[in-house]
């Protein structure tokens, strides 16, 4: 049984080493590239340090007790004492978890409120629409729209406004920060920022059915001047997003290619999409019975 304690420690160690050596490039959550992901990363590390303490104490006690008090041929006549409990000890090991929980709860609450604070300058707004199964990004200020990728200026807070035409998905860019649901009929938001230019994986996190695994996107952070140039050029040269085209895009189905449009869809389309579906009978499947 002592072997098992060691096996468990052995399993934890690589994880610790990963953290310490900084070999975390492939571990998105532990490789933050923006202030939100950074704050979350700090909290993750702090919580990991606290729980490691608990793990070490329990594993050491567990191993010692098993070695020391296991039944051996030479202690078969040992009769254990008839202890009922020990109030002092029990208070002690109630207080230790209380302290650990407080040590974690206080920064948790601080960061929870901190991340919701209004930024000083008005952030750039991008509307995100999760459709089955593709991501649509509308730039209301630039008057352009993209599908399955989103260019953003680095070093600037972006207010992603989250919507859905169909099922509830979750918008997640691990290197920039944690996720938020995209709910049909309710607009949520997520404030993210990339510190440096770069390309980041974006994911669907909340299951939406058949094409779920195929619904991914890229976040491409550019230097602000490059972003402005891209937005201007797109506005000038990209094909116009028509109503028909938009309806075609949001129809249920897998769409993995990246699309770029000038012009944007009308928000009322999203609001009425369910009624729209009912009218045209595009319920995405055959009716029951």
């Amino acid at each position: 049984m002592t072997k098992k304690g060691l096996v468990k420690l052995g399993a934890i160690l690589p994880f610790l080493l990963l953290l310490l050596t900084g070999c975390t490039e492939k571990i998105d959550v532990l490789d933050p590239k923006g202030p939100v992901a950074q704050e979350q990363y700090n909290l993750i590390l702090w919580s990991f340090a606290l729980v490691s303490l608990v793990l070490i104490v329990v594993f050491v006690l567990f191993t010692i007790i098993l070695i020391r008090y296991r039944e051996r041929p030479d202690n078969m006549d040992y009769e254990p004492p008839d202890t009922h409990g020990n109030t002092k000890l029990e208070i002690l090991w109630t207080l230790i978890p209380v302290i650990i929980v407080m040590a974690l709860a206080i920064p948790t609450v601080q960061i929870t409120y901190g991340l919701e604070k209004k930024p000083e300058q008005e952030p750039m707004k991008i509307q995100v629409v999760a459709a089955d199964w593709k991501w649509i990004f509308k730039y209301p200020e630039q008057g352009i729209e993209t599908v399955n990728y989103v260019n953003i200026p680095a070093g600037q807070k972006i207010n992603f406004q989250l919507d859905s035409t169909a099922n509830m998905n979750s918008f997640w860019v691990p290197k920039l920060g944690g996720q938020e649901y995209t709910m049909p009929g309710h607009t949520g938001y997520l404030m993210l920022q990339a510190d440096e230019p770069g390309e980041f994986d974006g994911k669907s996190a909340n299951f939406t059915g058949e094409g779920f695994a195929h619904m991914n996107f890229k976040v491409i952070a550019q230097k602000p001047e490059d972003f402005d140039k891209w937005a201007r050029e797109t506005k000038a040269t990209a094909p116009k997003l028509t109503d028909e085209k938009f309806q075609e895009i949001i129809k249920k189905g897998i769409l993995e290619e990246r699309l770029t449009f000038s012009g944007t869809h009308d928000d009322s389309v999203i609001e009425t999409v369910h009624q729209y579906r009912k009218k045209t009978g595009e319920s995405g499947g055959h009716e029951q019975h």
Binding site: K4, G5, K8, A11, F15, D28, V29, L30, A37, Q40, L43, I44, F62, I65, L66, Y78, P80, D82, T83, G85, N86, E90, W93, T94, I100, V101, L104, A105, T108, V109, T112, Y113, L115, A166, M168, W172, G177, G178, Q179, E180, Y181, M183, P184, H186, Y189, L190, D201, K203, A205, N206, F207, T208, G209, G211, F212, A213, H274, S283, G284, Q288
Partner: protein
Amino acid sequence: MRWDEFFVTGDPMIYAADASIVLATIAIVAVLTYFKKWKWLWTEWLTTVDHKKIGIMYILAALLMMFRGGVDGLLMRIQLAAPEMKFLESEHYNQIFTTHGTIMILFMAMPFIFGMINVAMPLQIGARDVAYPWLNALSFWLFFAGAMLFNLSFVIGGSPDAGWTSYTPLASLEHSPGVGQNYYLWGLQLSGIGSLASGINFIVTILRMRAPGMTLSKMPMFTWSVLITSVIIVYAFPILTVALALLTFDRMFGTHFFTVDGGGMPMMWVNLFWMWGHPEVYIVILPAFGIFSEIVSTFSRKRLFGHNAMVISMIAIAGLSFIVWAHHFYTMGAGPGVNSFFSVSTMLIAIPTGVKIFNWLATMYKGRISFTVPMLWTLAFIPNFVVGGVTGVMLAAAPADYQYHNSYFLISHFHYVLIGGVVFGMIAGLYYWWPKLFGFKLNERQGKHGFWWFMIGFNLTFFPQYILGLMGMPRRIYMYTNTDWSALNMASTIGTFMQGVGFLIICYNIYWSIRYAPRTNEADPWNGRTLEWAIPSPAPYYNFSRIPEIKEMDPVWYAKKRGEKVIDGPLEKFHMPSNSGVPVIMGGLFFVFGFGFVFGWFWMAIPAFIGILICMATRSFDYDDGYYVSVDEVKKIEGV
């Protein structure tokens, strides 16, 4: 509806399943007929109200469902072993992870705990049966009807594929138009009503039927865990019943409780589901805690450390379990106030749980620990559950959860607590109480092999998943392209197969022991402490020929020390409940009723419902109030 819409077609695996179901049915019928066992099956098992036999049937069903859910798990892991695998289609994979989750929680963990409770709780409190034996049988048959209905979806009509959480709008008629979701609703509804009845039954049994002198403070820890669990069941399950009914109305009658249009709120389903769902995880874990408490104490030869603290901790966990549900969806964005509240309330659960862990360690401290198979599972529980528990605390921190949510980090966390806690606990309990039920121990050597295969396989499966989660692998994807995830996924798949080997060894262990293990019929094979070890093994159908007077905790242990007998005094005739065929018939009718509703066939559902009403009337006018067991018969059975 055409026949090829009724039967699931087109997949060779499904045809294989069809064939094996037909063959297994023919084989069972043939064996029962050949050995003339139909009458035995009916009188001894199907109509029984004996809590021990009902418990055995629950456990048997749980093991079958563990096999089914385990095969689902294996199929998923094969598909995820390498990037861009072509083993399963998306649709098939989605059905499999949905049935895996639903079956493991509701049709494996739940019957396993009900099995353990039925087997051991009445024996621990010195009762001859539960308070409502007839209702107990009905609970079992409702569970069984629900489980069979749910499993039938695999070959008839198609399985649900919206996840075991069945979130709306995905589970609504618009997005899941097939009958699979109806199976989910009716399978859970039927078994859920059975669970609720069980909860009531166990509360009354524990409060009203303890042996004289057994005050609550002298009650064994497992029985305490059952009492607290049952209270949670009674408060939590009605929420599930209502939520399922509302979604059924949405799907069948066009209401708008959880739709997006028509004023419905999909997030309301998510709230209701977890208001039941979070207490549910404590419903399955607390009895496991109770079993571990009994086993730690027995095999350390020491009294359980801090009885009162253990009870208070469980009550605290039960209370907190009702105010943490929103931690399942911090990312809904309900605002910092809500998320802060649920973060802190969730973290608080670590305190009573920590107290329990330390008390178990303190029980072993200065003990003499023998490594029997039940004790091995209990010992393995401590480090594994602590890993699952502390990652639960990490998940509780809302901002950090924004990164873990819906990822494999979460998957790994709840498998560590549910397998490391519940499954380990149920297997430990099975090995521990087996000799009381059957008069012989399961082979220890085979049991240890099974244990190590399962334990190592379990860690190999789930530890890599923590890292995969941090690498950004979302749950419920049927396929991935990222080659960075391959190695850890392959390790995880290999671990799953090792767990499968462990499970098969345990099954073989049971088979081998039934055939060859020596029948020792020892009353007290483990040097036990609580009342169940005072009666003969296998336990006679009436449990206690005389009801003992209890003066202390662990009465059998202290009586052995003083050389006294726990069960003594003159024999007298006593009263027992009669068997009844009504519960199993009602179970069958409920099955037909549910099946009718799944397909919207009222011509089938309404007659079945009338049948159910007739059964209830039959029960109401049933004046058979049991029979007496004579002194002579007890003497004959116990050989005195």
